[in-house]
Symmetry: D2
Subunit: 138 residues, 4 copies
């Protein structure tokens, strides 16, 4: 499995009155991390749009376990990789490490969709191209 590390600097505005990261921010960052994982193997979102007509990769499930808090000034590293392929989708696993310690563990289930040929307002899940799977298998 190909993995990629997305580094995030924890800013003042990411933290809440408990002085720790406000948890929805982690989901923003794992969303970013998935993008950068794809980009790291030459599959930029824009490229995917142009080449396969995929209109984003909508999320069907997102989950995080929060093991220890991160604070303003910390730098976290999100290690991401596609840990499961389904016919028309995939699961990205994310491990967030802060100063050598596992801080958050999570995943996103995403679907591979194109604009529906009969109705541009709808999306249609289609099989993930083999070359996309191969690129991310590492």
């Amino acid at each position: 499995m190909k993995t990629h590390i997305h580094r995030v600097s924890i800013e003042w505005g990411h933290c809440d009155p408990a002085r720790i990261v406000f948890y929805p921010r982690y989901f923003e960052w794992i969303d970013e991390a998935t993008r950068h994982l794809f980009e790291s193997v030459g599959l930029a979102w824009k490229t995917l749009f142009d080449r396969y007509g995929v209109v984003g990769c909508p999320i069907t499930e997102a989950k995080c376990n929060f093991l220890s808090p991160s604070r303003f000034g910390d730098i976290i590293e999100i290690e991401s990789g596609v840990k499961e392929w389904r016919d028309k989708g995939f699961t990205v696993g994310h491990r967030i490490v802060n100063a050598g310690k596992l801080a958050v563990e999570g995943h996103e289930q995403r679907v591979w969709v194109i604009q529906h040929p009969d109705d541009p307002k709808r999306l249609k899940p289609v099989p993930v191209p083999a070359e996309v799977r191969a690129a991310l298998a590492g």
Copy 2:
């Protein structure tokens, strides 16, 4: 000038480690307030898109003066109105009141744009329709 009040409940995640609202949130809310102002006179964004082809009303300038902080649990009221019309744009004024006290005062300058007829990727400023001005004059 027609005005509208947009009420916002200050949530935990809106506040930072200083235990006050993280200031970019106010810009989110005045953006929302402008939308609700238009909607309050029957000009929902969606209606505008359908009727005039306007693709949002891009911001050219946004400014806020922060007079007193708001905190988790507070309820603020944003009073908004179009205080100036230009040929192809307008300025929305916003006054945010918290428990009877003026907390933030700001404005947004926006442009009235359609998709450029020659290039759908570009925007083209066009005059604001008279009926739109009339509706917001109150």
Copy 3:
């Protein structure tokens, strides 16, 4: 189980280039919904802080399943209730309905913590008071 409905208006800035809600926003809103659930039974966060010394209720797990997208202009309703109690924590279940259709289903696992008596920088999980459980049992 006592339930509470938190209503959210989907704003322009909540949506992404796919023209649907950017998914981390849902986690912001279920976090808010938990607060309003507690408040609806007379247990405002501030009250809890003053009465029990709890410093927020940190999240240990958050998960959502996204069943159908919501878009700018929609109004969603988040129905929340504590669906499980543990000795020093609880799980809040959330169901988000959009125009009568289940759009998102999720939960948050939270811990009941006070400032650690030996070190104000650390948190200490303690049993949830019986009266808090009772109030939320409905």
Copy 4:
């Protein structure tokens, strides 16, 4: 004037249905840029707190002019410097450049505050230490 460049990668979730950056995000980033400017001269927020007791540097005014939009996949550079000192505050100027083109120009007015000696819940503006000014004069 000492300047610092804060680089930001425009992510999917930073953009709105018009496929451009949702403007409040720029205020998040100039807030971050100010922090990194101070840090670049050895004045990390944390250091300031420990050394001078300053509890953040609250904003009294924030303004941006938006000259051209940025989009998903772009990388922007925010050049920041303190362009004006007042007795108990300062103004940070920010210029955001995207692919060599000025995209946003803005500023923040901030106040130098400590916890009020008579009431820890209030803030008290005090003169900016000469060494802080000197460090940022470059």
